[in-house]
């Protein structure tokens, strides 16, 4: 049984992670991943004004103020981008510093003037305190998460269209700017609601990290959204449990968990991950080395049963390093295509067959490039032996005749 507080934080952090991940995916694809950071910073003046207007610390009033100034910040970003030459990154930076500076000034004013009511801990809304989530916080976060989910489900095709190709959407008659604003509004609400619990840094991280991790893992938007929400929830949950066990502050642990998930996805994701790409590249390079090595045999015209080729002779026929040549030769030996005795290498029967097939492929590709120069860029494949898979059969048959 876990402690009550741990349970509360667990639920809150998981919901927060899931909703941030979901919405963050759209922000990421829109190239506005840092919007969450800007929003959180832009919320500060609204928080302070809410406090000043109400006279004391009331969470709903302050959050409403935070939302208003956060949204105002985003509107300013949009205006800057549309009517001036300032680009996205600069616009975000400008709004962030402008609003946050104003917020700090207001905070200072509040600190030094007796305005009644306890004003302690106002700046904790910047840093947040995930560990002290109470049931009320979790309810708010969960409802916002559900609203976000409903919006994404209902407007999935609209959001996808506007994120992918906004001008086309406009031509079709969709209110592209409105839809864009709606997405940003969802981001805003998620961020603002997260602020008291999570603070600025954590919210910005939760918006970016799960989405970026999910991007590595899939090529489909729907899968990316689901994964992003899952990764976010996972980061929230594991960060909470680690913090409960070890005594480390909860917010930073959640960020660390999120970062770990991202790094793992970046390195180990199938096909798009760094490791997978490196392995695929290595596999391809080996195949090419092998093919070139065998073609070298063919060029030197080794008849079956002859004494075999010396290493140096082979080396003069290929353009890559002796180390790579040696490895290729050993690979051929392991596959039963070659027989070597240290100094010379001989083709086996299987080896001869391989050489013949390669020579055929090379001949056919050359013919293809001559006969169909216009198709070259579409179909040419560095891995020569794939010619039968890549080109249609009739075309191959035609090329054979040449």
């Amino acid at each position: 049984m876990i402690a009550y507080n741990t349970g509360v934080v667990l639920a809150g952090a998981s919901f927060l992670g899931a909703s941030s991940g979901l919405i963050g995916a759209f922000a990421l694809l829109r190239r506005r991943a840092l919007l969450g950071d800007t929003l959180a910073h832009a919320a500060l003046p609204g928080l302070c004004l809410g406090f000043l207007a109400w006279g004391e610390r009331s969470l709903p009033v302050m959050l409403a103020g935070a939302l208003a100034s956060g949204v105002a910040g985003i509107a300013v970003v949009a205006v800057l981008r549309r009517f001036t030459r300032i680009k996205d990154d600069a616009a975000l930076g400008i709004v962030l510093s402008l609003f946050f500076g104003a917020g700090l000034a207001l905070l200072k004013y509040i600190q030094t003037h007796a305005v009644g009511g306890s004003r302690a801990g106002l700046d904790h809304y910047i840093f947040g305190s995930a560990a002290s989530m109470i049931a009320g916080d979790v309810k708010l976060i969960a409802s916002v998460a559900l609203v976000g989910l409903a919006a994404v489900v209902l407007l999935y095709k609209e959001f996808r269209l506007v994120t992918f190709d906004a001008p086309f959407a406009r031509v079709q008659g969709w209110p592209a700017s409105l839809l864009d604003f709606l997405i940003m509004l969802l981001v805003s609400v998620t961020v603002i609601v997260a602020l008291p619990a999570a603070g600025v840094v954590l919210t910005a991280a939760l918006l970016i990290l799960p989405a970026a991790a999910a991007r590595f893992c899939t090529e489909w938007l729907s899968a990316m959204l689901v994964l992003s929400a899952l990764f976010g929830a996972l980061a929230g949950a594991s960060g909470t449990m680690l913090s409960a066990g070890g005594g480390m502050p909860t917010g930073p642990m959640i960020v660390l968990a999120g970062a770990t998930i991202f790094l793992s996805a970046m390195c180990f994701a199938p096909r798009r991950g760094i490791l997978a790409r490196a392995l695929a590249d290595r596999r391809l390079r080996r195949r090419i080395d092998d093919q070139k090595t065998f073609l070298a045999f063919q060029r030197l015209r080794v008849p079956a049963g002859a004494a075999g080729m010396t290493f140096d002779a082979l080396r003069s026929e290929v353009t890559f390093s002796p180390g790579r040549l040696r490895r290729a030769l050993h690979r051929g030996e392991r596959e039963g295509l070659l027989v070597g005795d240290g100094a010379t290498w001989k083709l086996t029967e299987d080896g001869h067959r391989r050489v013949a097939s390669l020579a055929r492929a090379q001949r056919l590709w050359r013919a293809f490039l001559v006969e169909y120069p216009d198709l070259a860029s579409t179909f040419a494949d560095l891995d020569m032996e794939r010619i039968d898979e890549v080109l249609p059969t009739e075309m191959v048959a035609e090329l054979e005749k040449i």
């Binding site: 402690a3 009550y4 507080n5 741990t6 509360v8 934080v9 200072k108 600190q111 030094t112 007796a114 306890s118 004003r119 302690a120 801990g121 700046d123 904790h124 840093f127 947040g128 305190s129 995930a130 560990a131 002290s132 989530m133 109470i134 049931a135 008291p196 909470t240 913090s243 409960a244 066990g245 070890g246 005594g247 480390m248 502050p249 909860t250 917010g251 930073p252 642990m253």
Partner: protein, 332 residues
């Protein structure tokens, strides 16, 4: 800065780039190295120690916290006008001075601050000012043996919770004022003496009051860990959520521990502080309720700041009395 290419030696310009760059780097490093070390405490520097007051009364004194202001006022009386930078409900651990604050510090005749790194973010400013003004940390002459140690070289700065310790700070204030304004030395000494007596009386009263709480319920649970001196002086157990400085964020593990502790010992009340956010306390209360242990917020304590100027909580004496009364009422 670097000479152009000369007709005779076209490579001269290029070969001087490296030495020029090196020179720039060395200059930059020297400039950077010439900074004052960030230090709050021993700013009682040689340059300003010998100064004496020769202006118009009252002497303009600027302090950091209200508690220090209170101390100086009781010694300086009509001869001083004391302005604290931090008002009610301000957290001195996190307080960053504004341009106005720095100006005020520069206009002051004397400066007093708490010291022991309480004013965590003002170290640079204070050491800057100390170079041309008399600036004193009131805790500087306290015997380090009597302080609570936190790290290898750092001490818990919340000494004003132990009235006796705070009373001992009077000596330094008295001495500094006398040195700065010898013409009123007798006034200062007199006032210090009488306030010293008041504080001793208060110290005894506190001990008596707290002792009246039954021992098994004598536990003080607060938001941040400021009350250790209080606990040691008046024999009450002290527990908190956040650490010594409010700059550190709490972990859910710490909250769990506290909930467990409170429920086990059946403590009746926890306390919020005026200068610290209540969020952590709220979470603890909810956690205890979930375990079936009913707990209430016993009241608001003054921890790192005093109350508003015109209220009873706005003086040191009033603040201590309020705290002790609140604690006793809630825990008895």
């Amino acid at each position: 800065m670097c000479p152009r290419q000369t007709p005779n030696d076209p490579h001269l310009g290029r070969s001087l780039y490296a030495p020029c760059a090196l020179l720039l780097i060395v200059i930059a490093a020297l400039l950077a190295g010439c900074q004052e070390p960030a230090n709050g405490s021993s700013a009682q520097t040689k340059t300003s120690a010998g100064q004496q007051f020769d202006g118009e009364y009252p002497i303009q004194v600027v302090t950091t916290t209200g508690m220090v202001a209170d101390l100086v006022e009781h010694v300086g009386g009509v001869q001083v006008k004391v302005t604290p930078l931090m008002g009610e409900s301000v957290d001195p651990h996190l307080y960053k001075p504004s341009g106005g604050d720095v100006a005020r510090l520069n206009r002051a005749d004397m400066i007093f601050y708490s010291g022991l790194h309480l004013e965590g973010r003002m170290g640079d400013v204070l050491s800057q000012v100390a170079r041309h003004k008399p600036a004193y940390a009131v805790t500087d002459e306290l015997d380090r043996e009597g302080l609570l140690q936190v790290g290898s070289e750092t001490f818990d700065p919340h000494v004003w919770f132990d009235v006796a310790l705070w009373r001992d700070c009077l000596a330094l204030v008295e001495k500094s004022l006398v040195k700065f304004d010898p013409s009123h030395a007798d006034d200062y000494r007199g006032r210090a003496e009488s306030y010293r007596a008041e504080l001793s009386e208060l110290d005894d009263w506190c001990r008596e009051q707290i002792a009246a709480i039954p021992s098994e319920r004598r536990v003080l649970v607060t938001a941040h860990d400021a009350f250790h001196y209080f606990g040691r002086a008046y024999k009450i157990e002290v527990k908190a959520i956040q650490g010594i400085s409010t700059q550190a964020e709490a972990g859910v593990g710490a909250i769990n521990e506290l909930v467990e502790f409170i429920s086990r010992r059946k403590i009746k009340a926890v306390f919020v502080e005026t200068s610290v956010s209540e969020r952590n306390i709220q979470a603890v209360v909810e956690g205890c309720e979930a375990r079936g242990h009913h707990i209430q917020v016993g009241g608001q304590l003054f921890s790192d700041a005093m109350g508003a100027a015109a209220t009873p909580g706005g003086t040191y004496l009033g603040m201590v009395r309020h705290n002790v009364n609140t604690i006793r009422r809630a825990l008895e």
